[in-house]
């Protein structure tokens, strides 16, 4: 799959997420907190430019977000 220049897929480990919502605040088009469980999940294609993906990975307090380096 061609991900376009510099776009990387992000993933949320839902077991680690503590529901602070920082991801949703930074990247509302990619992360959404479930209304009931308050757990984040990736919505849409889940792709972000690498630098923004790294920023959200670093800001997540629970280390729940990772850049999913997919096998091609």
């Amino acid at each position: 799959m061609d991900l376009g220049e510099g776009l990387v897929p992000v993933a949320v480990d839902q077991g680690l997420c503590v529901g602070g919502g920082i991801c949703e605040m930074l990247e509302p088009a990619v992360f959404e907190l479930d209304d009931d469980t308050v757990i984040s999940s990736v919505i849409g294609d889940g792709l972000l430019p690498r630098s923004r993906a790294e920023a959200v990975v670093n800001r997540c307090p629970a280390q729940a977000i990772s850049i999913a380096e997919q096998e091609q």
């Binding site: 077991g15 680690l16 503590v18 529901g19 602070g20 919502g21 920082i22 949703e24 605040m25 907190l33 209304d35 469980t37 308050v38 757990i39 307090p61 629970a62 280390q63």
Partner: protein, 417 residues
């Protein structure tokens, strides 16, 4: 602590040091050494983590540095006391994750924004009263009432009970120092004080109040935080009686002394640096950076403690399983390796990577976005009224190595200089 703790230049825990403010020179020496210092404390000691990068490491590795062992304050609690007093803050995953999710929803940035008009109305009223009176004790008139009124509104405490809870909260603040003005059996308390948060009988009263609310919300749920907790319970999520009451207590207390401290130091910083306030008035886009700078500057919570779960290494220092490890946010927030000119109050500072809310990791302050909103809205309302602050007394500081508290400081509103 020995009698010479205050004069021993490597000591950073002697509470009386903090009557003069954070002992920044001592922390600077700790940061300058290549390794971690072993700091004696009571009969034992702890590793003093003083650099920004090292605090981050400890904070973000909760499997290695536990919150559930011993205590998250410097001293250990006895096992029964720890069990009785354990709240969100003293747990590790998976308990932590379960409890945190019960309250997380209300505190996401998105949901916190909904409280903006509530916060604004409270801030406006307090500021109008402050100016009408021609000033007075800023802590008493603005810094203390703002956060408590906000959290009581969010919890759903009826306005007629607010004064009672404010009183309880003030007794708890006392419990963090060394003077308690109320007897052990105050409020009908019969519990051993060791088993109560802050060893305070006011905690018993707060537990009772929280229990009463729980029962009222069970039969008559509202759109408030207590109802959400009660609903979570009825929907089969696991929250025990003890967990509920400690959570209620934590929610009432955690945001009060902390936010009040930020607002107190913020006012002092603006009074001492009028050119920085001028910058904010000239460019309202600086409200956000000024808010972050106030939080960095104030560092209301000066440290948190963890306990090593295994032998490990940090900054070339071997840490043994069971050792106490103390993250000094007060030091990390002045780390010259991270913040340019760290002792300058810069309302436009671009680097917002301060650790006022902790160094990251799952315990990152639950109320961070609420506290930010309170500080930012207060600044906006001050700007709207063109309030300039003049400090008219020395601050009376708390005798505490934990909360960077200001007990009182007089301020007067003045005209633009």
């Amino acid at each position: 602590m020995g009698p010479c703790a205050a004069t021993d230049p490597t000591n950073v825990t002697e509470p009386s040091l903090y009557l003069q403010g954070i002992p920044h020179d001592r922390f600077a020496r700790l940061r300058a050494r290549p390794d971690l210092a072993w700091h004696p404390y009571e009969s034992d000691g702890f590793w003093a983590v003083s650099r920004h990068a090292d605090v981050r490491h400890v904070s973000r590795n909760p499997e290695l540095f536990s919150s559930a062992i011993g205590h998250t304050n410097l001293w250990d609690l006895e096992a029964d006391a720890l069990e009785a007093r354990r709240s969100l803050i003293d747990t590790d995953a998976p308990d932590h994750t379960r409890l945190r999710r019960l309250v997380a929803r209300a505190f996401t940035p998105k949901n916190i924004r909904r409280w903006e008009s509530t916060v604004r109305a409270i801030a406006a009223e307090l500021l109008d009263e402050f100016t009408a009176q021609g000033g007075g004790d800023w802590v008493d008139m603005v810094a203390a009432p703002l956060p408590i009124q906000v959290i009581l509104t969010m919890l759903g405490v009826p306005t007629e009970d607010a004064a009672y809870l404010v009183e309880l909260s003030n007794y708890l603040v006392e419990g963090t120092g060394d003077a308690q003005s109320i007897p052990p059996d105050a409020f009908g308390n019969t519990t051993d004080l060791r088993l109560l948060p802050f060893n305070s009988p006011a905690s018993h009263a707060l537990f009772e109040y929280g229990e009463g609310m729980r029962q009222r919300r069970r039969v008559d749920p509202q759109d408030d935080l207590v109802s959400h907790l009660v609903q979570a319970e009825s929907e089969g999520e696991q929250i025990s009686r003890s967990e509920y009451r400690n959570m209620f207590h934590l929610l009432v207390f955690a945001g009060n002394e902390t936010t009040r401290t930020a607002i107190s130091h913020g006012a002092m910083a603006l009074a001492a640096n009028p050119h920085e306030w001028q910058r904010v008035l000239d460019d309202p886009a600086l409200i956000d950076s000024a808010t972050e700078e106030i939080l960095r500057w104030a560092t209301p919570v000066m440290h948190m403690r963890r306990t090593a779960t295994a032998d490990t290494e940090l900054a070339g220092t071997s840490i043994a399983k069971g050792d106490k490890v103390v993250m000094w946010y007060a030091s990390a927030n002045r780390d010259e390796a991270v913040f340019e000119d760290p002792f300058r109050f810069d309302a436009g500072r671009a680097n917002r990577d301060h650790f006022a809310f902790g160094g990251g990791g799952p315990h990152l302050c639950l109320g961070a976005f609420l506290a930010r909103l309170e500080v930012a809205v207060l600044l906006e309302e001050m700007a709207k009224r063109s309030i300039w602050l003049e400090q008219t007394s020395d601050p009376q500081r708390a005798r505490s190595n934990f909360v960077h508290g200001v007990l009182s400081v007089d301020m007067r509103p003045k005209r633009a200089p």
